[in-house]
Amino acid sequence: MLIQKQTLKIIALRKKKVVVVGMIVVFGFVILFLRLFYIQVLNGRYFRQVAEANRIQRFYQKAPRGQIYDRHHKLLAVNKPSFAVSFTSYSLTQQEIERVSQELALILNLSFQEVKTRTFSSLQPLDPVVIATDITREQALTIMERKTSLPGVNVAIEPKRQYPEGTLACHIIGYVGELTMEEYKELKSAGYRIGDKIGKTGLEAYYDHLLRGEHGEKQVEISAKGRQLRLLRETISLSGNDLALTIDGDLQRLVQDALQGVNGAAVVMNPRSGEVLALASSPGYNPNTFLRPVTRGEFTYLFKNRGRPLFNKAIQAQYPPASGFKIITTAAGLQEGFVIPDEKMECTGEMILGTYDQVFRCWKKDGHGKINLASAIAQSCDVYFYQLGLRLGVTRIAAYARKFGLGSLTGIDLPFEKKGIVPDRDWKKKVVKEAWYDGDTLNMCIGQGYLWITPLQMAGIFNAVANDGPYYRPKIVKNIISPDGKVYHDFFPEEQGIVELDRQHWHVIKKGLEETVTHGTGRQAYIKGLRVAGKTGTAQNPQGMDHAWFGCLAPVDNPQVVVVVFVEHGGHGGVVAAPIARQILAGYFKKSAVEGQTVTPEEIGD
């Protein structure tokens, strides 16, 4: 074997170069090796989770919300099955997604662009996006038939809330809406999910935890193209609880009709138990509006209307109680011994107070002359009560107001209730930063000034009168019925408070109140054959028209019902509110509501 010198030289040179190539190769393999170690060993756990999330798709089955019905089982809130289309992109290509979008747009009568923006809106391939809700049965069937040519498209039956009676009891029922991001963050741990409906107001909000039920969940293994291969786990959805209300739907309808055209509220209660038979605020709204996109006109009505349709005036409107408060002044005066029923006081139409000669007028310019307590109530004589109020002083009056439940929540099972204000020396010092004057006492004892109460609190005053002392917490839900039909909450009367007066004092108050209706300022609420005890009220409003009040109970000897009517900017209570109360009473007792007497506002100006 002969090896040439030159070849040897070349070979020596080459060996060096091969070492360089070998080093590069080794370096490359080391990189691959480290990368493999990094992905598989250091991040193996993470990628294992991602792979699991990849293959398991969770389908949620929405639970039907509990139904709401009135005391006669008239349905007020129900669920209607509706079809919803969602889309999951899986590993579909852009062209496939576009084709699916095109086909869906045709079926759903939507524009291609609209569908496309939704199908492309999901960044995570396994996150379903909602394309359309509440599609028709025909559309749903078409989609299901073409399932093979519509990969990733899923039609689900979802219970959809519906309010069959529309505006009836809207402020009581409330409505549901999509869970907001803030609500979601707060309620995530309670099992709420994005896209859930949640009660926004009314009973829907107050009892949301009982109404919503529990979602069902299906875990399905899927292929990359979205084919469902096998069921891994399944839990069945659990319906929410039904609510049976104390509300009488027919009476509620009557009350709402009676309030038609005014801004105001009315409450009808059973004084013996605290059951709320009707509770209305006017103007109302149709809660079904919130279940679909709100139109511009509806939006203007709901949010810009001066009557504030969404505001439940029966529990949220706070106004001076006006002459209705005279019941409390009377009760304090009698029980504390500052007046006896037969004591007559002179009313000249005004009262001059203190060193600055402040003039406090009676609503009746010419005065009522010498009258006793019952007549003072019936005629709503301010001057009589000015004198009584001065004798009592603010502390006693405020204490009695609180005994009647003013200044605190009634505790009705509705959200956003307001508690009003019972002013006294401390309150004024703290809030108004002024001392309490006698003039304030005069304003307070006839229910004006700083006093604020809600119509529901006014009903509480009449409940106490009706029961001669005790009054019960207003309640709207009579029974809570679980999905398997068991009643797990039964209604029971709950004493909210008690006003302890001697029996004869209650008699005097009732006599005065009955006289109000027969001869006094409340004559517009008079019904033949029914003994009604009521009180008018006109809350002074320096900015505009006064607010009208009328509260009453009937029949006097055995009270079955308390009715309170409040009309914002309505004018005089006896003129505006009393006739509405008469309509309600007539409806409740099935009596004729024909006006008995014609009266002039001058006669019943309170």
């Binding site: 074997m1 990189i31 691959l32 090796f33 992905i39 598989q40 991602v50 990359a224």
Partner: protein, 434 residues
């Protein structure tokens, strides 16, 4: 056959690697009937048997005979590449296959080996490198197959020609400065293209100062001008200090940079939108999570979820449920890594490394220049494919559609790669034989 001369390590590693590929195909067939019908495994086994026969047959010859046929080989491959453009079957938009009944043949696989042989013959015969003009021929030899393959258009298959050329020239004694210039040109061209496409697709990347300069053609012009001026300054300064600097060399360096910059623009101009996306998406798969990035994301999930020991044969969820794309070809390594975990993946890497390592040793021990160069070319071809393919499945290389040699499904590729191994075996066996 002398047992001592037969490279058993290489042969057994090759067989094991092929078997791992069949195991991958087996699991794909049984896990996911949609992704592959059972005859892909049959075809692969058949190709393996043919490959073995080719090896045994070829071992009867003496490899220097290849020198005689190198030109014919090369011309044949060029003709086939031209013919495939006319008569080939279009598969997924690429006309690169001859389909004859059940069998199909990809001439670009042949062209790689033909190029290696012909280049080795050329370099050996040239002996000494006189000037840069000697580079003209090798580059021309490269341009024919590359141009024809680009017309198919199969961008991925052309890539391997460049490292083969550079490494073989280097091993063949080409002057280092030419190699450096070529690598510099290639690196500049590819990195500039990548950065610019990335900036184009990912607007936030433009916040980076360097990216902003590269992405803006005006800045690049300013940069080149500044480079020229500073080079001139350095030259004159050096001259005054009586410090010798080659004007020619400096100008050569400058023209390489300029060519790289200009080339990157031409390159970018030639590429289609989807190619651009695929090329850079490994830098950030979430640029296009449902499109080009999807493959990388799913492949990384598959590999990663394999963890230490894998999910076990037929239990890989990513491959079984079809999340992994192109399982039997480009992403077969991901299937194996998911199924057998780091243990299996590392083992496969080691086997592949043994093949490469034996190749380097064979090249080193070859009895003549031609054998050494052919072995170097084959090693480069394998190594480059391995780095590109596995790097892609691990998310550190662009998606180029390059298969994993000996493992990925593909008959002509398997037979040709086994033939290449056969050449290596032959070079080793005949190393003392003159």
């Amino acid at each position: 056959m002398n047992r001592l001369r037969f490279d058993l390590w290489l042969f057994i590693s090759m067989c094991l690697v092929c078997v791992s590929g069949m195991l991958g195909l087996f699991s794909i067939i049984y896990q996911n009937p949609v992704a592959g019908s059972s005859n892909i495994l049959v075809k692969q086994v058949l190709a393996f048997v043919i490959g073995l026969m080719v090896i045994i047959f070829y071992l009867q010859f003496n490899y220097p005979t290849l020198k005689k046929y190198a030109l014919g080989f090369y011309i044949t491959s060029i003709v086939l590449l031209a013919l495939v453009l006319l008569l080939g079957t279009k598969v997924r938009g690429v006309r690169s296959w001859f389909v004859l009944g059940v069998f199909s043949f990809q001439p670009s696989e042949l062209a790689k080996l033909a190029f290696i042989m012909f280049l080795a013959k050329y370099i050996e015969e040239m002996r000494t490198w006189k000037s840069w003009r000697d580079l003209a021929w090798p580059v021309l030899l490269l341009l024919f197959p590359v141009g024809l393959i680009l017309l198919q258009p199969d961008f991925g298959s052309t890539l391997v020609f460049f490292p083969i050329l550079v490494v073989m020239l280097y091993a063949g004694g080409c002057r280092l400065k030419y190699i450096v210039a070529m690598i510099g040109f290639g690196a500049l061209l590819s990195s500039l293209t990548l950065v610019r496409i990335y900036a184009e697709l990912q607007s936030t990347a433009v916040d980076n100062y360097v990216v902003r300069v590269i992405a803006n053609p005006n800045y690049m012009l300013v940069f080149l001008a500044a480079l020229l001026v500073s080079l001139a300054l350095i030259y004159f300064l050096a001259k005054r200090l009586k410090f010798k600097l080659s004007f020619k060399q400096m100008m050569a360096g400058f023209s390489v940079v300029t060519a790289g910059v200009l080339g990157s623009y031409i390159f970018e101009f030639l590429m289609k939108a989807y190619q651009k996306k695929r090329l850079v998406v490994f830098l950030d798969p979430y640029l296009d999570p449902l499109g080009a990035g999807y493959n990388i994301i799913q492949s990384k999930i598959a590999v990663g979820s394999g963890s230490w020991l894998g999910k076990g044969l037929l239990y890989g969820t990513q491959s079984r449920l079809g999340f992994l794309p192109e399982q039997h070809t480009d992403f077969i390594f991901s299937v194996l890594a998911e199924t057998f975990g780091f243990a299996g993946g590392a083992l496969l890497l080691i086997l592949l490394f043994i093949i490469i390592w034996r190749g380097i040793i064979i090249s080193n021990q070859a009895r003549d220049e031609f054998g050494a160069l052919v072995a170097t070319g084959i090693v480069t071809m394998f190594a480059f494919h391995i780095f590109l393919n596995i790097g892609m499945t691990l998310g550190i290389m662009p998606i180029t559609g390059v298969p994993l040699p000996l493992v990925s499904y593909g008959g002509s590729s398997l037979v040709m790669n086994m033939f290449a191994i056969g050449i290596l075996l032959n070079i080793r066996m005949k190393r003392f034989y003159y």
